[in-house]
C-alpha cells in the first residue's frame, strides 16, 4: 500500500527541516557528527511524525512508545527531531555541545526532554531497549520500543548479546533499525572489520528481518507496519542509507562522519537544503 502523496510530501518537508537543524547544531557547536545524522533522518522523521505514540507536553508519559538512539553520536538528529516535534524550541539547537546546554554531545536522558535513554558509548542501546520492552510485557502495556543502531556499531559484541536476549524472550514489541550507510570513522565497514552479512545475522538470531531503502517513505512505512504484525519475535529493519544524505559534498564521504562545516560549507549546506525545501513546498 502506497502512502498518501500529501502525507509523504509533508514528511519530506519535515525531514528537510530536521536536516537543517542538524547542520545548524553541528555548525554552531564547531563539532559533532553530521554524516550519520543525515543518513538516519528520513526514518527518524517517520518515527517522530507518523509512528511514535508520544506527547511533547508529557515526555515521561508511562504509556509512550520508547526510542533509544544506540548510535548516540547522532544526537544532532534526535535533538532536531525532538525540537521540531515540540519537545523544546528549535532555536535551542544552536546550543548543542555548549556549556550549560540541555543538548549534550551525546544523549542524556536526565537533561533533555524526550530522550528516553542515555547513550553514546556504542553497543549498549539495544540492551536498554530490550529492558524497556520486557517491562512493557511485564506490565501488559502495548507500547513499542525502537532502537537505532549504526552499522559499524554491530562490531560491538554487546549488540549480539542483546539480540540473543530479545529473540529468546520473544520481545515482539521491540524493533531495531540498522543505519546501513557502509561507513565508519576509520573507513568503509567492509575494510575496517566487516559486520556483513547483516540481514542474515539478525535472521540467524531469530529476528523478523526487513530490508529497505532508508530514504523511501513508502518502504519505511511498509516496514514499520509489517513489524507491528509480527508476533513472538523482534524485528530488525536493515535500512540501506547514504551517509551525509541531503548535503551534496557530504554524501557518502567518510570524512563527514565527525566533522563540522566551516562557515562557507555551512552556507552551501543551508542553501542546498533551502532549495530542496522550496522545491518541496512549491
Amino acid at each position: 500500500m502506497q502512502m498518501n502523496e500529501a502525507t509523504k510530501k509533508e514528511l519530506m518537508i519535515t525531514a528537510c527541516k530536521i536536516r537543517m537543524g542538524i547542520i545548524e547544531g553541528v555548525y554552531n557547536a564547531r563539532s559533532g557528527h553530521p554524516g550519520g545524522s543525515l543518513s538516519m533522518t528520513d526514518i527518524l522523521t517517520y518515527l517522530y511524525f507518523k509512528e511514535l505514540r508520544i506527547d511533547p507536553k508529557n515526555p515521561r508519559w508511562p504509556d509512550r512508545d520508547r526510542f533509544v538512539l544506540s548510535k548516540g553520536h547522532c544526537a544532532p538528529a534526535i535533538y532536531s527531531a525532538l525540537a521540531h516535534r515540540g519537545f523544546f524550541p528549535v532555536e535551542e539547537l544552536k546550543t548543542l555541545r555548549k556549556i550549560g546546554s540541555r543538548l549534550q554531545g551525546h544523549p542524556d536522558m536526565k537533561g533533555t526532554p524526550g530522550v528516553d535513554m542515555t547513550s553514546g558509548s556504542l553497543g549498549q542501546g539495544v540492551s536498554a531497549a530490550g529492558g524497556m520492552a520486557l517491562a512493557g510485557k511485564l506490565d501488559n502495556k502495548d507500547y513499542r520500543v525502537y532502537a537505532f543502531l549504526g552499522d559499524g556499531e554491530l562490531e560491538e559484541g554487546q549488540v549480539w548479546e542483546a539480540a540473543m536476549f530479545a529473540a529468546h524472550k520473544k520481545l515482539d514489541n521491540l524493533c531495531v533499525i540498522v543505519d546501513f550507510n557502509g561507513l565508519q570513522i576509520d573507513g568503509p565497514i567492509t575494510e575496517v572489520n566487516s559486520p556483513l552479512p547483516i540481514p542474515e545475522k539478525y535472521a540467524a538470531f531469530g529476528f523478523n528481518v526487513i530490508e529497505i531503502n532508508a530514504h523511501d517513505f513508502d518502504e519505511i512505512e511498509a516496514a514499520f507496519e509489517q513489524a507491528k504484525t509480527v508476533k513472538g519475535r523482534p524485528t530488525a529493519i536493515i535500512a540501506h542509507s547514504q551517509k551525509g544524505r541531503g548535503v551534496s559534498y557530504m554524501l557518502d564521504q567518510v570524512s563527514w562522519h565527525g566533522a563540522a562545516p566551516n562557515q562557507e560549507q555551512y552556507e552551501i549546506a543551508m542553501t542546498e537544503l533551502n532549495a530542496q525545501l522550496a522545491e518541496l513546498e512549491k
Binding site: A128, G136, L138, Q158
Partner: protein, 315 residues
C-alpha cells in the same frame, strides 16, 4: 567463642530477595547464568515471572536492567564481582551511573575468599571500580544480618547501589536487638582509646578477634565497621582519629582504591595521622582453601593485631 553461627552473605542476599518478592512487586531480579551460586535463584523459585536469566552476557545484563529501571522497575542484578564490577564496568558507569538509574548491583564471590577458583575469579578491585562512579552507593556487609539489612535498604533507596557479598560462611556478629542499618553510617563495634581498627566485610569479625588479643596485651583497640564505603562515614572516622590518633584499616580488597585509601585520603585532608592498610598488596590471588588464603595474605586477626600493636606502640 564456642558455637559461632556462620552464614555466607550471598545466602543472606538470596533470603532477603525472597522476602522482598512479596513486599514490592516492582522488584525484578536478573542474573547471568550464576543464579545457583549468587543465590538469586531463591527469588527465581519464589517468583519465576519476575526473574530473568540473561545468560553469560554481563554487559547486556547491565543494559537490560537500565532499560527496566527507566520503566519504573527495581532491578536487582547479580553475577560474580569480577564479571559485574569488572567486565561490565563501563556499562555500569554509562548506562546506570550517569543516568542515575535505580538498579541494585549485587555482586557475590568478592575478594580472595573465592578460594580454589583462583585469580581470574578473585575480584579485589570492585570497591575501587565502583567508588569512582559518581552517585554510586558502595556497600560491603560484614555478616548475614547486615547483608540482609543492606538488601532491604537498597530496595527502599532510589538510585544505584553496589553491594558485595562473599562466598564463604562469615561469623554472625551483628546479632543484637538494637542493631540498626543505615547507608553511610559506620558502626562502632567496640570502643577503645589506643588505636582504631576500621574494617569492612569479612574483616570486621577478624578485627573484633584482634581487639581481644590486643586487650590481653594491654592495648585498648576501637573497632569500627564501615559497611558503606561510599558515602563514607567521615564523622565517625574523624572522631576515631581525634580520640585514638592511629588507624589500621582491614579489607578483603586491594590496598589500592578501597576502604584503606578512602580512610587515608580523609585523614590526609582533615586530620593527619598514621593509617596502616591491610588488604591485598597490589597482586593477584591464587588457588587454595579460602581460610588459608586469607591467613597467607594477612587478612586475619593475628596480622591485624600485630599491625595495630606496632602502630599503637609507635604513637
Amino acid at each position: 567463642m564456642a558455637d559461632i553461627i556462620k552464614k555466607a552473605t550471598r545466602e543472606s542476599y538470596g533470603e532477603a530477595l525472597a522476602e522482598l518478592a512479596d513486599v514490592n512487586k516492582d522488584i525484578v531480579v536478573l542474573d547471568a547464568d550464576l543464579a545457583a551460586a549468587t543465590k538469586s535463584g531463591t527469588f527465581k523459585k519464589k517468583c519465576p515471572e519476575r526473574f530473568f536469566d540473561c545468560g553469560i552476557a554481563e554487559a547486556s545484563l547491565v543494559g537490560t536492567a537500565a532499560g527496566l529501571a527507566t520503566c519504573g522497575k527495581i532491578p536487582f542484578i547479580s553475577s560474580f564481582a569480577m564479571f559485574l564490577a569488572g567486565r561490565a564496568f563501563e556499562q555500569i558507569r554509562n548506562s546506570i551511573g550517569y543516568p542515575h538509574l535505580n538498579v541494585k548491583l549485587c555482586a557475590t564471590h568478592a575478594g580472595i575468599s573465592v578460594g580454589e577458583d583462583g585469580a581470574t575469579h578473585q575480584c579485589c578491585e570492585d570497591i575501587a571500580l565502583m567508588r569512582v562512579i559518581p552517585g554510586m552507593v558502595v556497600v560491603s556487609p560484614s555478616d548475614h544480618i547486615e547483608a540482609k539489612a543492606a538488601v532491604h535498604a537498597a530496595a527502599e533507596y532510589v538510585g544505584p547501589v553496589y553491594i558485595r557479598f562473599g562466598r564463604v560462611a562469615a561469623p554472625i556478629i551483628n546479632d543484637r536487638p538494637d542493631y540498626k542499618f543505615e547507608f553511610g553510617k559506620g558502626v562502632t563495634m567496640r570502643d577503645g582509646r589506643d588505636v582504631t581498627i576500621v574494617a569492612t566485610g569479612l574483616m570486621v569479625a577478624e578485627a573484633l578477634k584482634a581487639a581481644e588479643t590486643l586487650a590481653a596485651d594491654g592495648i585498648d583497640a576501637r573497632v569500627i565497621n564501615i559497611h558503606t564505603i561510599k558515602p563514607l562515614d567521615r564523622e565517625l572516622i574523624l572522631k576515631a582519629i581525634a580520640e585514638t590518633g592511629a588507624i589500621v584499616t582491614a579489607e578483603e580488597h586491594s590496598v589500592i582504591g578501597g576502604l584503606g585509601e578512602a580512610v587515608a585520603s580523609l585523614a590526609a585532608e582533615e586530620a593527619p595521622c598514621r593509617v596502616v592498610k591491610i588488604g591485598i598488596n597490589d597482586k593477584y590471588g591464587y588457588s587454595g582453601p579460602a581460610a588459608e588464603l586469607l591467613k597467607l595474605e594477612g587478612l586475619c586477626a593475628e596480622n591485624i593485631a600485630a599491625k595495630a600493636k606496632a602502630l599503637a606502640q609507635r604513637k
